[in-house]
């Protein structure tokens, strides 16, 4: 038998003993931690969000009589983590929740009704109505923050092309045609030709004027609502994305990519997509419709950017979304959890508003100029931001339909893929788009199960 250079059995034994010793040394990780008398808070987000949350946690815990906050950030697969915890009835005290899950948990009686605390904490009555989501006629959960869609752009590319920048007032919002025209002036192939010029080479585009707003519950939704269309009927029993008004919007977006050629196709976009901030900074794209939260990345990217209101079909309109922050009934300290939530919701104590990640939930932070300034008067918020953001957030806003309809995750799991072929350019022309949208509506409708109560505060 040949002797090999492999470790001998004795070496294996020694390694094993070492392992046991090492294990014993790190043994503390094998013993349960005492997490009683903590406020357990589970959330997702980037490293910036993690830092912001920890700043609030520390400030909160320093106040007399307040519990320490055990804030755990979860990267990657949040859905699996939170669902497992809930299924095992091992919920944290307070947690970020995706919309569909939050509504379901509320209805299932697992969440604290924030409205129960409105007498003790009058700020609750100041919350924007579209940021509160009712799972019964009298019970609601709040959003983590407010996020509206805006028209982000690179000021450098506008001035280089000599094109006026987008308006910051909803009253003067661009029409869709005006937007397309502007995008045409901001799109260039490698030889510097524009799409409307002869010889434009669509395979060699250096700079696009826009990205196609195709996210069904936010960017697309804002434009649909602007044209008077909607995704679902009032009762939430039928998908109506095949209405004439919706067909018009969707056809226009398809044309934008494949006819006017001012926006990249989805295949092209995924391969250059580093997120909105870098798309604009790199000059690959001159404008893009996306959420407020991008401001944080834009500010970090250090280049001149601007923000305007969305172009309109008929009415100026934007969409509004965010996750939910839910407080679990199982918590032994629901009141402290509510207080912690309100502290997170206050731009004066939470840095994430000023940093451009969140917009406030309380109305007075939009209406009272002094309070508005606490989070918009910064170096990173572009000029006119108080108007371009505050006005639409209050008046021209459609909340993400994910909150309103029941069974939303399954509904969107049907609807979104059914639209894929349209965005990939397989259906051109109104008649073909209409047919594809009818198909999308047909596959989605069977999964609709009504709506949650629509309560106006």
């Amino acid at each position: 038998m040949q002797r090999s250079r492999l470790p001998s059995r004795r070496a294996v034994l020694r390694a094993g003993a070492g392992a046991l010793l090492g294990g014993a040394a790190a043994g503390c990780a094998f013993v349960p931690e005492n997490r009683a008398h903590h406020l357990e808070f589970l959330f997702w987000g980037s490293i910036y969000e993690d830092r912001g949350v920890h700043a609030v946690s520390r400030a909160f815990s320093r106040r007399p009589g307040r519990l320490p906050v055990a804030a755990q950030v979860v990267g990657g697969d949040y859905a699996t983590k939170i669902n497992t915890l809930v299924a095992a009835r091992q919920e944290p005290d307070i947690a970020y929740l995706p919309a569909g899950l939050a509504m379901r948990l509320g209805e299932g009686g697992l969440l604290v009704n924030l409205l129960d605390y409105r007498h003790k904490y009058p700020q609750i009555d100041d919350l924007l109505p579209q940021a509160l989501h009712y799972y019964t006629e009298t019970a609601a959960v709040p959003q983590t923050a407010v996020e509206v869609m805006m028209l982000w752009y690179s000021t450098r590319l506008f001035s280089k092309a000599g094109v006026p920048e987008p308006p910051v007032d909803t009253a003067s919002a661009w029409s869709w045609d005006r937007y397309l025209e502007t995008c045409d002036r901001l799109t260039f192939d490698e030889k510097g030709r524009r799409p409307s010029e002869k010889g434009f080479d669509p395979t060699q585009v250096r700079q696009f004027g826009a990205t196609a707003p195709t996210t069904v519950n936010t960017t697309l939704y804002a434009l649909l609502r602007s044209n008077g269309a909607d995704l679902f009927d009032e009762k939430g029993t039928r998908c109506i994305i095949d209405s004439d008004a919706a067909v018009e919007v969707v056809s226009q977006i398809v044309e934008m990519m494949y006819e006017h050629r001012v926006a990249p196709s989805p295949t092209l976009l995924t391969s250059m997509n580093t997120g909105t901030a870098l798309l604009l900074k790199s000059g690959r794209v001159a404008t893009t419709i996306d959420g407020y939260w991008n401001l944080l990345d834009l500010a970090n990217a250090q280049f001149p950017y601007g923000a305007g209101v969305l172009p309109k079909f008929q009415e100026p309109m934007t969409a509004q979304t965010s996750g939910i922050t839910g407080i679990f009934k199982r918590s032994q300290y629901p009141e402290q959890a509510v207080e912690f939530y309100l502290q997170m919701a206050d731009p004066r104590s939470c840095p994430l508003y000023k940093q451009g990640l969140w917009m406030p939930l309380e109305r007075s932070f939009y209406t009272d100029p002094k309070l508005l300034a606490t989070w918009t008067d910064t170096k990173i918020h572009p000029a006119g931001f108080d108007r371009s953001t505050a006005q639409p957030a209050l008046h021209n806003v459609s909340p993400d339909p994910t909150f309103r309809i029941r069974n939303s995750s399954e509904v969107f799991a049907q609807l979104t893929p059914a639209l894929d072929p349209i965005w990939l350019g397989k259906h051109r022309g109104t008649a073909s788009v209409r047919k594809a949208l009818r198909h999308a509506a047909d596959v989605t409708t069977p999964f609709l199960a009504g709506v949650y109560p629509d309560v106006k505060m």
């Binding site: 390694a15 090492g22 949040y78």
Partner: protein, 279 residues
């Protein structure tokens, strides 16, 4: 090892090897070049291969953005708690299934294999509830103890069994004739002859623990106990990813296992052959 004879065939062999190596090197090169780029350049289209400028700060930035030193020690602790268990329990049970004759062993083994076939997503919740009753959620016990009972390691047992089966039976029989007990056969005959296989299982387990994301995600409740893979996941935010940091941290995180693999592969392949035994 066979040495190809003619020069032309030898050239062909190297050509094929180089083409394959170029293809397999591609993902790694991509990772490294991205780690050295600013976020804007990573996604330039058409893509570029040379970073300009070299964004060395990605490495520093990524490693200081989170306590990677702690994550590294945590991951190492888990490795030490899991790998020996897999090797020990894996080899004794593979020995029982491959070299000891008892009625029903193939049936039992086939039933054990079924553990691989049930999708993880649905056993997750019941298993979690079990650990919660044991009061051990948040610790490393749910991540490491099952390995000592072969749970999640049926693949390793299967692999070792296949290798044990390829050792000539006559060796055991000769030992038994000399009055040996099964333990002696396991320790003195089967284990020494199966070192390549044990090393393969050890390496695979090590890499598996190193990269495991789901188990630590579910069972750990405190960032102080996070592992490297959870740290990496933090760079992929829900809305935007810090690609430069992600790529840089990924490069650093996989370097140790590349080195480990390089050191181990020689032993896997230049271990004992059975030639001397039978010939």
């Amino acid at each position: 090892m066979r040495r190809p004879r003619s020069g032309a065939r030898r050239f062909l062999l190297y050509a094929v090897l180089c083409v394959c190596a170029a293809a397999t090197l591609l993902p790694f090169l991509w990772l490294v070049r991205s780690a050295l780029m600013k976020d804007g350049q990573i996604f330039k289209s058409p893509p570029e291969w040379l970073p300009s400028p070299f964004a060395w700060h990605n490495f520093g930035g990524a490693l200081t953005a989170q306590p990677f030193g702690r994550y590294f020690l945590n991951t190492l602790t888990l490795e030490l708690a899991i790998v020996p268990g897999v090797l020990f329990v894996g080899s004794i049970s593979a020995f029982a299934f491959a070299r000891l004759r008892w009625r029903g062993r193939n049936t039992v083994f086939a039933v054990l294999l079924s553990a691989l076939m049930l999708p993880y997503a649905v056993t997750l919740v019941p298993t979690f509830i079990g650990w919660q009753y044991a009061g051990l959620v948040g610790t490393y016990v749910p991540l490491s103890l099952p390995a000592w009972l072969g749970a999640g390691q049926i693949g390793s047992i299967f692999l070792l069994r296949q290798f044990f089966l390829s050792i000539p039976r006559e060796l055991d029989d000769a030992a038994y004739v000399d009055g040996a007990r099964p333990w002696t056969v396991y320790w003195r005959i089967v284990l020494p002859l199966s070192r390549p296989a044990l090393l393969v299982v050890g390496i695979f387990t090590f890499i598996g623990v190193w990269n495991d994301f789901l188990n630590p995600l579910i069972y750990l409740a405190d960032a102080k106990r996070y592992t490297l893979s959870l740290g990496l996941a933090m760079f992929q935010g829900s809305y935007s990813a810090q690609w430069g940091y992600l790529m840089a941290a990924s490069t650093i995180v996989i370097l140790p296992i590349i080195v480990l693999f390089f050191l181990a592969q020689r032993h896997i392949l230049e271990g004992i052959t059975l030639t001397g035994l039978k010939g």
